[in-house]
Amino acid sequence: MGYKGKACDKPAPDFSSKLKALDAQAELIVAKYDQKSAATLTLLHLAQDACGYVTPEIEQWVARWADVTPVHVHGVVTFYSMYHQAPVGRHHIRFCTTTSCVLNGSEDLLGHVKKKLGIQNGGVTPDGKYSLEESECLCACDQAPVMQVGDDYHSQLTAKKIDRILDGLK
């Protein structure tokens, strides 16, 4: 199931106040669905966007709102590649490693990114700025090679363009 960050070995920070601030939004989200449990994925997105990754505390918060067990939420978290169980970089890179991108030279470009950042698949730079995930097709194949940084797609990549994009981030 795609890239899964390892579960975090450090003690998880206390996200209780961040989660409290999300309660109002959570209530609106749950109300949109015909069954509360259906809000599980959406609530996880909401909490992860605010906290950076998913901790047991977050799983419990989601479980309360979605009226499911924390074990159920954990099973969901481990199934989907977009949920992180450990901190990722401020700029998380999904680098497409599927056919159309490979045909357009993504192997060398991926090597370039790894050398530049000094990390492998699943790695985070020591300063916490970047993390790298080798992803499957991002479905922008007509614009290959493609990577996603944070929310944004970047296409028709070259080594120069990658440098410009990554160096330009704060």
Binding site: H45, R94, T99, S100, E136, C137, C139, A140, C141, D152
Partner: protein, 433 residues
């Protein structure tokens, strides 16, 4: 290029906004249909148009809609599959990002036809910009009363929720999608019961692809005969063909169903990059069997590609020139499927993993010719033995690449050149794991 229908707004700046889309005709047809036509009339028009599901399976859309039980006591749901994930496919993204009102209008008409008052759009999690444009279009439609308690003041109530996925290719499979939408792991369900009887939350549900639903307003506007005439026999309309890989002009091309594959590559996509010779084409996304250069005189529709032993699938066309190494291509195909198997059924979980291990061994120069036969056996044992057809789809590249390019595979193994390839990849630090 033929008349742009689905793609007519793709190059219009800000067409995702109602202020631009509406003067260009958005919601005109839905307004005329809802409340004025009988739901059966809408379904019959769609049936007569020969519209076939554009998510990959090509099932006649009107026929699917007729499976919804009449007078269902339970609510009926319409679910839009916007989980686009099939490698080589990038068509739905354009509709979602550039022209979401076209989709919403299609949802209104389609929901009305099946008697649904609530629809969900399941959009892949990585599609953030398309999600934002879509969600703001939904908000605009609510604000105008095009969604909500009384659509266009007709008294017909319609709610629409956009739901984001979270990164799992399997969730494009319709029953996996339903589980995911219900907040679970995306494991496919056994069929029957089919979703039209027992779908979302146990209720009758129609699942259609984004592009399929985007066709509906045009069919209702211009008539079934018009739509039928656009396409080829039994395959109505135009289709958004995604063309990528080694072509001069990769892109998404809206062309009539049945367009010759050769024209798609040479006439529309500008031919093979750098004037090089063609080696192979995957015509319908990663799951479709590969075609050799001398097999491209086929019509790009469901029937044409089936006759050629492959499938139209999602119409994701990936073009490979003469420089391409088929061992490497199979390595990336098996990587994809082993990565994305949901793990529910053993033949798929074990088969995709084992196949990828063997292909990796070959790719790195450590394989034997015997491995090729083992791979074919693994592929055979994956077909038709699992809950969904993911495992079949995983078997097809293995079978077609090895059978059609057997001499190349054997030569690669015997020559031992994989060792050099492995060393090169190691040096570049590039190997994808």
């Amino acid at each position: 290029m033929s008349e742009a229908i689905l793609s007519r707004n793709f190059n219009i700046p800000d067409a995702h906004k109602l202020s631009v889309a509406e003067p260009r005709g958005a919601y005109e047809t839905a307004r005329k249909v809802i409340g004025a036509l009988k739901p059966e009339e809408v379904t019959n028009t769609v049936l007569a148009s020969n519209l076939r599901g554009l998510g990959g399976a090509g099932f006649p859309t009107g026929k699917k809609w007729q499976f919804i039980p009449k007078d269902s006591k339970k609510p009926v749901y319409l679910v839009i599959n916007a989980d686009e994930g099939e490698p080589g496919t990038c068509k739905d993204r354009y509709i979602l990002e550039k022209d979401p009102h076209q989709l919403i209008e299609g949802i209104l008409i389609s929901a009305y036809a099946i008697g649904s008052h609530k629809a969900y759009i399941y959009i892949r999690g990585e599609y953030v910009l398309p999600y934002r444009n879509l969600q703001s279009a939904v908000d605009e439609a609510y604000a105008k009363g095009y969604l909500g308690k009384s659509v266009f003041g007709s008294g017909y109530a319609m709610d629409l929720v956009v739901h984001r996925g979270a990164g799992a290719y399997i969730c494009g499979e319709e029953t996996s999608l339903l589980n995911s939408l219900e907040g679970k792991r995306g494991y496919p369900r056994l069929k029957p019961p089919f979703p039209a009887i027992v779908g979302l939350f146990g209720c009758p549900t129609i699942i259609n692809n984004v592009e399929t639903i985007a066709c509906v307003p045009h069919i209702l506007k211009n008539g079934a005969a018009w739509f039928t005439a656009l396409g080829s026999p039994g395959n109505g309309g135009t289709h958004l063909f995604s063309v990528s890989g080694h072509v001069e002009k990769p892109g998404v091309y809206e062309l009539p169903m049945g367009v010759p594959l050769r024209d798609l590559i040479y006439k529309y996509a500008g031919g093979v990059k750098g004037g090089r010779a063609l080696k192979a084409v995957i015509p319908g996304g990663m799951s479709a069997k590969i075609l050799k250069a001398d097999e491209i005189d086929v019509k790009m529709d469901y029937d044409g590609l089936k006759a050629a032993g492959t499938m139209l699938g999602s119409a994701g066309v990936m073009v490979m020139d003469e420089t391409v190494c088929m061992v490497k291509m199979l390595y990336y195909a098996t990587k994809f499927f082993s990565h994305e198997s949901c793990g529910q059924c053993s033949p798929c979980r074990e088969g995709t993993g084992w196949a990828h291990k063997l292909v990796t061994r070959i790719y790195r120069g450590e394989g034997s010719v015997k491995d090729l036969d083992t791979l074919l056996t693994i592929a055979r044992n994956m077909e038709g033995r699992t809950i969904c057809v993911f495992a079949d789809a995983a078997a097809w590249p293995i079978q077609s690449y090895i059978t059609k390019f057997r001499a190349e595979f054997e030569d690669y193994i015997v020559s031992g050149r994989g060792k050099a390839v492995a060393a090169e990849l190691e040096a570049a630090g590039a190997h994808a794991h």
